[in-house]
Structure formats: structure tokens, C-alpha cells
Symmetry: C2
Subunit: 284 residues, 2 copies
């Protein structure tokens, strides 16, 4: 991991990238922890979702997006606020730009290591993230054993706005029952669930209730990669005391498609209005 001089304290530009809006949950955490920075967010909405595409295609899209943030928007530090791009394209992004790049996988696995007592963790994410086994590998590097589960329906449910819907609870029950059963058959007792997709924090309540119903209250606790990544970015950027530093962060958002949809849905993820979103053409 590249260490970086904390120029951010003088108002430097932090680029945040996602295939869509989900990464705004990471931006939300970053704004709380690094209020002195200027944030430039790019959602590659014309080509989303990355989660069902191949490594080669994801790497090309993500590298083009990162270059936009660094070359056109002068980002001095990049946060890849997209689990799929972090899992499949972190090296391609690092090769494409000359600034430090932080993905969400390693911080998520490190946070799981700080939480688990049994050393057995569950990871839920998109199909592409799971197929890459990037979380399983990151867990191994932390001395943990991770059982991974693709949950392709959770992103569409969030985007449909069915956050507290009975259907979403049932879908969560199906997925979580399956991964818990798989862990049980492997003789494991997982006590931690990593949210390996930036859409999932919006489903935190329903996932907590579902886990409590299946395993008993508090038996499995949730770790959010978005929060863990924001903490790690703050640490790398010299904001060791994190929350409560002065200054008001500025944000500017770009999207490759559907600016209106971004403005409408984005606020749900950011927690505050995203403001005006600029359309950018990456030629794809």
C-alpha cells in the first residue's frame, strides 16, 4: 500500500469512483472522516452494473474512470468505492494512474479481523466480486476464513427502493440461510458478516433483523466495507483523529449517464442531496 503525504490537510482533491451510486455510501463516510478535503465522485452509470461483467471489461472501464478523476479532475488520491472494481481491477487502476489508490476489499477484511472472535466470517457481494474470491484471499491474509455468497438480487431491490419491503427480507433470508448452512457444513461458527457491496449498507437493518432471526440476536455482527475504507483513507491521509476535524468538505459529482436518476437516487446513498451532477462522456 502506497503511503501518501497528507496534502489533503491543505484542501487536496480526493477522487472517489464507483460504477454507480452505491459508492456514495463510501463518500458519505469519507466526508465525515476527512472534512478538509475536496471530493470528486464519478459514477460510471452508462456502463453499470460492473457486478455481472468480466474482469477484462471491468478493468478497462475502471481504468478509464480513474484516469478521468486524476487527469481531468486533478485527484491526488483515489478511493475505489466499488467492491467489484476493487476485486477485479485494482492493479489495472494502479497501473493507469500515478496517485495512491485504495480499494474497499482489504479495509473490509481488516475490519472483519478486528471484529471476529471465531475467525470465521461471511462475505456477501455481487456475482463478479464473489467469483474473483478477492475477499476470501484478503481474509486469508488476515488469518481468517471467509465464506462468500453472491447476492445478485440485493442491488436491484435497493435500486427499486424496497429497503424495508417483505420481499427484501425474504430474499435476505434465502441468501443468508444458504451461506450460514454452507459455513455450518464446513464446521465453522461465523460471527461476522462483511457487506461486500456499497449498496448493502442501505439494507443493514433488514440484514441485522434477518441474522438475529436465524442465528439469535448479536450472534453475527455486521462489518461495513464502506466505513472500514473511509477509516483507512483517513488514516493514510493523516487524519488519525478522524471525526470532528474542522472544515466543510466540498463535493462534485460526475456521471456517465442519467444525471437526473443520479441526482434522484444518489441522495438516498449519500444521506444529503448530491447537488448538481455533471454528465461526462468516457467514450464507452
Amino acid at each position: 500500500m502506497i503511503e501518501w503525504e497528507p496534502a489533503v490537510q491543505k484542501g487536496a482533491v480526493v477522487g472517489v469512483f464507483d460504477s454507480g451510486f452505491g459508492g456514495l455510501t463510501v463518500l458519505r463516510s469519507l466526508m465525515q472522516r476527512i472534512p478538509g478535503a475536496s471530493f470528486v465522485f464519478l459514477g460510471d452509470t452508462a456502463r453499470l452494473p460492473y457486478g455481472s461483467k468480466s474482469r477484462r471489461t471491468i478493468a478497462r472501464y475502471a481504468a478509464e474512470s480513474a484516469q478521468f478523476l486524476v487527469q481531468k479532475q486533478q485527484a491526488e488520491y483515489l478511493v475505489i468505492a466499488c467492491n467489484t472494481a476493487s476485486a477485479l481491477a485494482l492493479d489495472a487502476i494502479a497501473d493507469a494512474v500515478d496517485v495512491p489508490v485504495l480499494g474497499v476489499i482489504e479495509p473490509g477484511a481488516a475490519a472483519a479481523a478486528g471484529h471476529t472472535k471465531t475467525g470465521n466470517v461471511l462475505v456477501i457481494a455481487t456475482e463478479a466480486t464473489i467469483q474473483s474470491h478477492a475477499y476470501a484471499a484478503a481474509c486469508r491474509r488476515q488469518g481468517l476464513h471467509g465464506v462468500e455468497k453472491a447476492c445478485p438480487l440485493l442491488v436491484p431491490l435497493v435500486e427499486e427502493g424496497w429497503i424495508d419491503h417483505p420481499v427484501t427480507a425474504e430474499v435476505a433470508r434465502v441468501y443468508l440461510s444458504e451461506v450460514l448452512e454452507e459455513a455450518r457444513q464446513a464446521g465453522q461458527t461465523p460471527d461476522t458478516l462483511v457487506l461486500g457491496c456499497t449498496h448493502y449498507p442501505l439494507l443493514r437493518s433488514v440484514l441485522e433483523r434477518t441474522l438475529a432471526t436465524i442465528c439469535g440476536p448479536g450472534a453475527v455482527e455486521i462489518v461495513d466495507s464502506a466505513e472500514a475504507t473511509a477509516n483507512e483513507a483517513a488514516r493514510q491521509l493523516g487524519f488519525r483523529s478522524s471525526l470532528g476535524r474542522g472544515g466543510t468538505p466540498s463535493i462534485r459529482c460526475f456521471a456517465t449517464d442519467s444525471v437526473e436518476k443520479f441526482e434522484r437516487l444518489g441522495s438516498r446513498f449519500l444521506g444529503i442531496p448530491v447537488g448538481k451532477v455533471d454528465l461526462v462522456d468516457l467514450g464507452g
Copy 2:
């Protein structure tokens, strides 16, 4: 609509385009009705789904895809087997190529006109297709009144393979109850449901059961745009007697991403193995 000399009878090339695999349901119907043709299918899987993107982006992607089929694969007739592209980009496609182009919207609305007795039809489709109101306009041209409903969760449910899953039945119940209530409040008595997305034929059974539960058996019948489009293509290409003509159709499939996924999922839509799928780079 451009009339076309039936060169297909001498084995001409029919290009079929979709953003993904769903259009293989149209290809399946085309193969049954025009067995003498050679079919070239392109799924723009690197950029799917179109259903959540803007008109401008969809038009650009669809035009590039159509040009590939005509210029690189010598297609002499194009079927746009994608409701979203038909709704938002049929003019852009027709401008981009110099062969006849048939979309799925007009044949779907015409088939509804042949079925309905009340003149009130329901249309379910993706968000982009519904927002374009292309079906409502096509219904008006047929003297019908169409009530449209976006059902964004149905495509992910099909792609997850939850064809007969209780969750899918519940999602269908929510969507169909909402659109039926909307029609009721407008004083209408719909008797026909148009499947305005090429994924939906795979959910035909669950949709039929759901309609029977809500409205009573046979009260609302289903019209499939895929079948209607294949019938219209056969008519335009001079296959007026449709089914049962001699010859074995040849197919060749291209995808812009995830050839393995296409080969795996595609057979579900085509009903037979899709065979080898070739990767093509449209530069997007």
C-alpha cells in the same frame, strides 16, 4: 415500415440484436417461423442492461450494435429483439444502417389489438421502456388504451434463475396488483397483458397464475411481444405460411462480454444450446 424482398428464401442473413440474452426468446420464435434463414445474434452484454439507461446512451449503443450486424456480419434484415432499444432507439438504428429494421413494440401492440375485447391492455416492461411511453403510443395507434408498469425486479429474478420461486410470485403479485388497481381507478377493464421485455416469457407461467389469482382464470390473457415480432418478421420476409417450412436455420452468436455466461444462460432463453459464442469488441 419498409417492405423487403424475400431474399431470405435463398438463405439470407437475419441479424437479431439485444442488449443481453433476453432477445434469444425472439430468436427462438424466429427460428421456428423462418427456418430457411441464417441468423446472426448480437448481445451487447458488456453494456447491459439498457433498461436503466438514458435515451441518448441507448441510441448510441444500439446503433453501434446494428452496424456490427449489417457491416461486419452482412445482415440483410434486422430484428431489434430488445424492447428498450425498440422503444428508445429504433429511429437511430434505422438511420445507422441501410437494411429494413423491425422492432418489438409495434408487433406487440398489434397482437394486443388482435386479442383484446375491451380495448384496455396492460403493458409490463423495464423502467426505460415504460418511461418512453412507446407502448402507450403504439397502443393508441391500434385504437387501444394501454396502462404501463415498470417491473425492474423481474429481469434480475430471471437472471438469478428464480423462475418458479415464491419470491418471484410475490414480486409479480405486487407489480400486477398495482397496475390492475391503476387501470381500475381509470375505469378500465383490461383483458390483455403485453410482455414488453424479452426476459418475461420465461415468467409466463408465474404471471398467468398470478393474474388468475387476482382477476380470476382467463380474465386477463398474456400477449408475448417476442412471438408477435417473429410472426411479423416472417410475414415481411414472405413466410406467410410460417411454421413448418423446410430447412434448418443456422445461428451464430456474438457477445460484447462474458462469453461463458452467455453460453451458460443463453440456452435458458433459446431453449436449445446456443453453441460457441464469439466475443466482439465494439469499443465501448
